[in-house]
């Protein structure tokens, strides 16, 4: 696998994360608009299977950065230091909120975690958008992309929940999907020369590529199975855990 193929893989992973985890972020950020506790749990159940299957895409993207483009990663970390801290902190807080909120029946406990989920989901989307902006190299791009990404994942999360509950969303799912992908794709295209410059040697890329290609069928099968769990309307054979 050449550096260009690795670059495409990185793009696919980032776009996949925006699509899958974006739905969870959007649902989490809009949790406050659900009137009752049961309604919140139903919404979280609608996107629940996407959490574990979705966040692995960004972890894998970070792995591609470390393994194939370590010089690009250290450059990005230096330029976007505070944004990265905000990204990982909000990510951890969002996950803690989702996993812990329903573990106790207390109303105070749940409403406190719901607030954490709303704030952390919003900050997570904003930080990811801002990190894309850091790649563009301007504060204005960072601020603009942060706001854009927050708004797009809100629409996207609402579209996924509506699809599973059989209601009508403001924007159709195909449109919101394209919308959350586009900032990632445009940014990677713009950063392409710098990314290729930050790659490791060709032999190392080839060896790493062999392992990833060998595992690819298994990766695809488990991911498709996870999407299959959310492809149908929410019903009695689903799991309410969050």
């Amino acid at each position: 696998m050449t550096a260009a193929v690795w670059g495409v893989l990185l793009t696919v992973l980032l776009a996949g994360w925006a699509l899958l985890d974006g739905a969870v972020q959007g649902t989490g950020a809009a949790l406050g608009s659900a009137p009752t506790g049961a309604e919140r749990r139903v919404r979280l159940a609608a996107v629940g299977p996407l959490l574990l299957a979705g966040e692995v895409w960004l972890v894998a993207a970070a792995g591609v950065l470390v393994g194939a483009f370590p010089h690009a990663e250290s450059a990005l970390a230096a330029a976007g230091y505070p944004v990265l801290v905000a990204l990982v902190a909000s990510w951890a807080a969002r996950d803690a909120g989702l996993w812990l909120r329903s573990r106790r029946a207390s109303a105070v406990w749940r409403s406190a975690w719901d607030r954490v989920i709303v704030v952390a989901s919003t900050v997570l989307s904003a930080a990811f958008g801002a990190l894309l902006g850091v790649v563009w190299g301007s504060v204005w791009a960072a601020a603009g992309l942060a706001v854009t990404f927050v708004l797009l994942v809100r629409l996207h999360g609402a579209a996924v929940v509506a699809r599973r509950l059989g209601t009508t969303a403001r924007a159709p799912l195909w449109l919101t999907s394209v919308a959350v992908l586009s900032p990632v794709l445009v940014t990677v295209v713009a950063a392409w020369p710098a990314l290729m410059h930050g790659a490791v040697s060709v032999s190392a890329l080839a060896a790493l590529g062999g392992i990833v290609l060998a595992a690819l069928p298994a990766l695809v099968v488990v991911q498709v199975a996870a999407w299959w769990l959310v492809a149908r309307p929410l019903g009695r054979r689903d799991v309410v855990f969050f």
Binding site: T36, G37, V64, H71, W91, A96, R237, V240
Partner: protein, 431 residues
């Protein structure tokens, strides 16, 4: 403190927090897999409840472990860019395999196990958890390959100051990766064993049959007691196997480690930690054999009530011990490598980023503060879940029942196949 010290302290605290979760994930995994398989094969209620109870603890622990791991992974780029610039190709490769293959599969498979609970055939569901354990172990091994390279760099060459892999097999078969992985795996099984034994001991003390003033019988009184007796037995077996593995592989590490070097820079901390770890491991082996012998004909559950309750209380109190010792083990390993980040190749002080100390301090306060808070909350929730026993488990419960317990309205309940007036009238949830 300088930026170098702060970056190192931040990494150490985050790594220690992350490892607390890892200990339980890897230690409890095989037990949940066995319980799930026995449930699939026999269909008995005791195995269903055991799978759901221990599976729920596994899950809540795993989920926050991921969060801690993500924070840790980004530390290299944020604070030690020199390591990636010089050794990124060698050190980054196993980490890339971990994130792209092992962890990717592990997490997705675990999601399928949780959310496919009512949809997948029972045999496939049980198999999924074995795959979760397998990929989890593979994930830990790849991390140890990366860490082993730092401790004992092999299979590479330096060209113009950048390391390139020359021998992949040497990198993987590195004793600092292979033998140390077995040592870590043993430590994880010990931790899993302590949690199984400690929680079961607490539950049995509360149980009217075993915990009462009279001697308990040879046969468990009910499903609940059966569950905790079985968990206790599984815990003793897991802990003993783990202790033998941890000590065996631990002492085998001295074949490639120079302990005089390891103790040289921080004689106090490393020397003390090493002594505590070795003493603890030997005691666990000894105690493990005693408990295993007491399992013959169920003698452990039929001890005199006062002896039994005293022993069970002690076992419950000892639960955190392997977690403390696990951290000490990492202190020995990581402090023992200093002043090197890659032994003989790169010094830690030469790879640190040029972020100002104030920025590193801010991220230390934010990230370490957050992760320690989450770890403490998680530990507290796990304790509460354990104290609730096998009643009202959410994992694997029919969705209608969960929402009914939550006071959901008729519309939501109908969606999940539960009749609004009460669960008794609800259509049977398949399996």
């Amino acid at each position: 403190m300088s930026a170098v010290d702060l970056a190192r302290l931040q990494f150490a605290l985050l790594a220690a927090t992350h490892f607390l979760f890892v200990l339980l994930t890897l230690g409890l995994g095989p037990v949940v897999a066995v319980l799930g398989t026995r449930w699939a094969v026999t269909g008995r209620e005791v195995f269903e409840r055991a799978t759901r109870f221990w599976g729920q603890l596994y899950l809540v622990n795993y989920a926050l472990g991921i969060a801690a791991g993500i924070v840790l992974e980004l530390q290299f780029g944020m604070h030690f860019p020199g390591l990636l610039d010089v050794a990124g190709e060698v050190f980054g490769a196993p980490l890339a395999v971990e994130t792209m293959v092992a962890f990717f599969l592990e997490s997705t498979l675990l999601g399928l196990w949780v959310f496919g609970w009512h949809q997948l055939p029972r045999w496939l569901h049980a198999t999924l958890f074995w795959l979760v354990v397998l990929t989890g172990y593979a994930s830990a091994f790849t991390v140890m390959v990366a860490n082993g390279f730092l401790k004992n760099p092999v299979g590479y060459e330096l060209v113009d100051g950048v390391a390139h892999i020359t021998d992949t097999a040497a990198l993987i078969l590195n004793p600092a990766a292979l033998v140390s992985s077995l040592h870590v795996l043993g430590a994880c099984l010990v931790a899993g064993g302590f949690v199984l034994v400690g929680v079961s001991a607490s539950r049995l003390r509360l149980h009217p049959a075993t915990g009462g003033r009279q001697r308990a019988g040879r046969q468990p009184a009910d499903v609940d007691e059966d569950l905790w007796r079985r968990s206790m037995r599984a815990g003793i077996a897991t802990g003993l196997v783990g202790a033998l593995l941890a000590t065996g592989a631990g002492y085998a590490q001295f074949t490639y480690l120079d302990m005089d070097d390891a103790v040289a820079v921080y004689p106090g901390v490393v020397g003390t930690s090493l002594a505590v770890m070795m003493g603890f491991a030997n005691l666990v082996v000894l105690g493990g054999w005693v408990l295993a012998l007491l399992l013959i004909r169920g003698a452990l559950f039929r001890l005199r009530p006062r002896v039994r309750n005293g022993l069970f209380r002690t076992l419950a109190v000892l639960l955190p011990a392997p977690f403390v010792v696990g951290i000490l083990g990492w202190l020995v390993r990581e402090l023992g490598r200093q002043p090197w980040v890659v032994v003989g190749v790169l010094r830690t002080e030469d790879v640190v980023s040029d972020q100002p100390a104030s920025a590193v301090l801010t991220s230390l306060v934010v990230l370490v503060g957050l992760m320690v808070t989450l770890a403490v909350l998680d530990w507290w929730v796990l304790r509460r879940l354990a104290a609730r026993g096998a009643e009202g488990l959410v994992l694997g419960a029919p969705p209608g029942q969960v929402l009914h317990d939550d006071g959901a309205g008729p519309e939501d309940l109908l969606r999940f196949g539960a009749a609004p007036e009460g669960l008794r009238a609800a259509p049977e949830v398949v399996r």
